[in-house]
């Protein structure tokens, strides 16, 4: 009944026998013990479980572990390198992009995808790019700032301070 799968997570290869119905997010959390990836809903709406699979952001609650057989995965635990925070992590820290922190790992992985597509995103692009991720604490504004901050770091220069748009 169980099936053997092999995945590389944050650079480390893992081989396990899993039930075919096991969700990828449960595989990551329960089998591998990487609990930084969270589960916030059961309908693929909240994005708390967002991880990178083969370089693209996916919702790990929406895939079965067996579907990830052979894949390269990156989770929040794999964002920092050699103890140095990723610019996205730095941005979230510096701009107060998190409060309770529960949505944050998924939010940061979504930001990773967003910045891959738009290295110099407008505020509107950031807000659109977070369509699949819910946060109940921050009101999103500091998350937008955090992603702008990270974008600046990744491009090697700080982003201009954000301004509210005048109403016409």
């Amino acid at each position: 009944m169980k099936r053997a799968i092999s995945v590389t997570v944050n650079g480390t290869k893992h081989s396990h026998e899993v039930e075919p119905r096991l969700l990828l997010v449960h595989f990551i959390r329960e089998v591998l013990g990487l609990t930084g990836t969270h589960v916030g809903c059961d309908t693929s709406n909240c994005g708390a479980c967002t991880i990178m699979m083969n370089g693209r952001a996916i919702k790990a609650c929406t895939l079965l572990a067996v579907q990830a057989d052979g894949a390269q995965l990156q989770t929040v635990e794999g964002l920092a390198t050699n103890g140095d925070l990723h610019p996205i992590q730095q941005g979230f820290w510096e701009e107060h992009g998190l409060q309770c922190g529960f949505c944050t790992p998924g939010m940061m992985m979504a930001a990773l995808e967003l910045l891959r597509r738009h290295p110099d995103p407008s505020e509107a692009q950031i807000r659109e790019g977070l369509e699949g991720n819910l946060c109940r604490c921050t009101g999103y504004q500091h998350i937008v700032n955090a992603i702008q901050n990270a974008a600046g770091k990744l491009r090697g220069r700080p982003s201009p301070a954000p301004q509210a748009q005048p109403v016409r």
Partner: protein, 796 residues
Amino acid sequence: MAVSALFGASIRRREDPRLITGQATYTDDMRLPGMTHACIVRSPHAHARITRIDADAARRHPGVVAVFTGKDLAGKINPIPTAWLVPNADLKTPPHPALAVDRVRYVGDGVAVVVAEDPYTARDAAALVKVDYEPLPAIVNQEQAVGAGAPQLHTEAPNNVAFTWKLAGGDTAAAFAEAERDGVVVRQRFVNQRLIPNAMETRSVVAKYTSSSGELTVWYTTQNPHIARFLMSVVTGIPEHKIRVVAPEVGGGFGSKIPFYADEAIVAFCARATGRPVKWTEDRRENYLATIHGRDHITDLEIAARRDGTLLGVRGKTWANLGAYLSTAAPGVPTILHGLILTGCYTIPNLTYEVVGVFTNTTPVDAYRGAGRPEATYLIERMVDLVAGRLGLEPAEIRRKNFIGADQFPYTTVEGLSYDSGNYVPALDKALELIDYKRLREAQQQGPKDGRYLGIGLSTYVEICGLGPSAVAGAVGFQGGLWESATVRLHPTGKATVFTGASPHGQGEETTFAQLVADELGLPIDDIEVVHGDTGAISMGWGTYGSRSTVVGGAAIVLAARRVRDKATKIAAHMLEVAEGDLTFAQGRFSVRGSPDRAKTIQEVTLQAYLAWSLPAGVEPSLEASAYYDPTNFTFPFGTHAAVVKVDADTGQVELRRYVAVDDCGRVINPLIVDGQVHGGVVQGVAQALHEAAVYSPEGQLLTGSMADYAVPRARMFPRFVTGRTETPSPHNPIGVKGVGETGTIASTPAVVNAVMDALRSFGITHIDMPLTPERIWTAIHSQKRHEKASEVKAR
């Protein structure tokens, strides 16, 4: 008050490194040796008799450890209590069994629990528990529930009435007589719709029982671990000193993690009965059914005013839906936390108000961010706009005219509260300036552009924060104290651990509290650790809710730190062989006045306090102090929020174009964190105005039962917010703070609704109930047009 380096500084949060690296431990991240997993079988019926439960197949399922039903728990687990026994309201407290025995009263009511080796198996087996129900008629609307012939939930509560609470002050009849004669009376029905709190982390419990010692340890998603321990003891019969409750990382609460739920008691029971640790984690759909909801008021309100806009009196009645059982704080939310702030920031001398709390076949309703105060602010702020509209007054000016004056504080309201301090005009002016009010009104004069109507809405609010004086808690029936504890402990090497009875879960108090202690003791902030959320480490605490943690918990911490400093001063004087009065303390150094080279650092003093080789007479070794701060009053933050919307008349779509929040929460410890609290609150309040609603079918099925159906707001729905502040310190709080956790939610809902109604003014529309969805707005516009056409025809 110490002149300080960190009070007022936007430093980065100290809790963030663990949260951004995935190293934080939330309850569901925990794994104990031998741990099992529970799944609770819940009623699919809103109201039914249970005629039979057959759990044999579930028990036989491989991997199942145990199955328990309500009958198994009966006599072993006491009913789940409510902890707010509002007096003089004829409150009924029908029993709430942890698992239903013979009757279920809402969809989601627990009927059995399965314990299994893994969560998938527990869920499989839960599906095998066969429950025979005999459905009964259900009732979900609170106004209908009190009517003749409505289905009855509890024999203890005839007509489904849980309580009738009345509030009166002044001479309301005379005020309305005057207005009827010579002024204006505005009447309106308002619906504060039911909301679902939606903390991103659902509830989760891990319980471990050690039979040899009789000790129960419970890790769980709570905002108030000591209240949880107290109630866990009451419900399970396990002595309080044998229970340890830990709130690990908690992923948001917004009030929904205040209550003591049946589920916690069920999981504790399972751990004790099976001898194995048990974990239970809600899935989101279960969270929507089994975790409390908020708001859900229907209100008939009338307000009396003179022609010049002077507000004379308010009269009204609210039907508050409480759901199927009384949740922990449920009776206090629509009464004490609601009625007592109804006249808001205005000098309204006459009030008559009645709140009827009603049982219905729905999920229990309790405190959701703001808890009673958003509902009240919505009522008064909408009413003030309606009066302004009727009298042709400018919304900003009618507010200004009726504000409590800066020279009137402390101000005793008609409800009997004493507002500590306030200065409402500068906050209003600042908001008007930041939103560019004058220019917007001019732009509005030019009429709609491309069928899009501009609207500007204001909300000037005041709220009850910093809950609160324990004597008041007792007087209003809250079955607890509302003081807070703090211990500041210096270690021999001069590092400090701070223990607080507050239990933050996203508010950043590990940072703000450390800022306070760093200032008081002159310690580097990295030398300070803040510990919270563990009854095993902290003597007592009342938890985090009601914007109280910084106000009450922060004050306790400062008082404890000052006691530490007082003792350190004695020891330093002894070490330096001078009188205490000859010492000054700054930047962590005790220096002799006039000879600053003669000095001891707080670290040197601390070491001597522990070595105790030579202490002054009467001074005991060690260096730590505790404080138990019980405030003398609530705090009353206030402010003005302003919203600008554009409404598309063809589609009914509302676009929130601009939002300004000017809040006065007294002194500000960390402006970045305060901004974050305001932003988050505003989004929740705007979402009530425009998007969110928990909807039940008449049969009691939750139609908005998942995140796919319930409109939790997303980033693209909002413009960039502008925040501003004025600063009016609380005169009675030792650090002058007032609290900011709920202001955004309280202020923003009426600001946005007022803006939309302002936009729709030319259609003759004065009110639409929330949420202001495109459908509702379109329907209102078009029914108004039909109405006008019909009148035209008649006139011809």
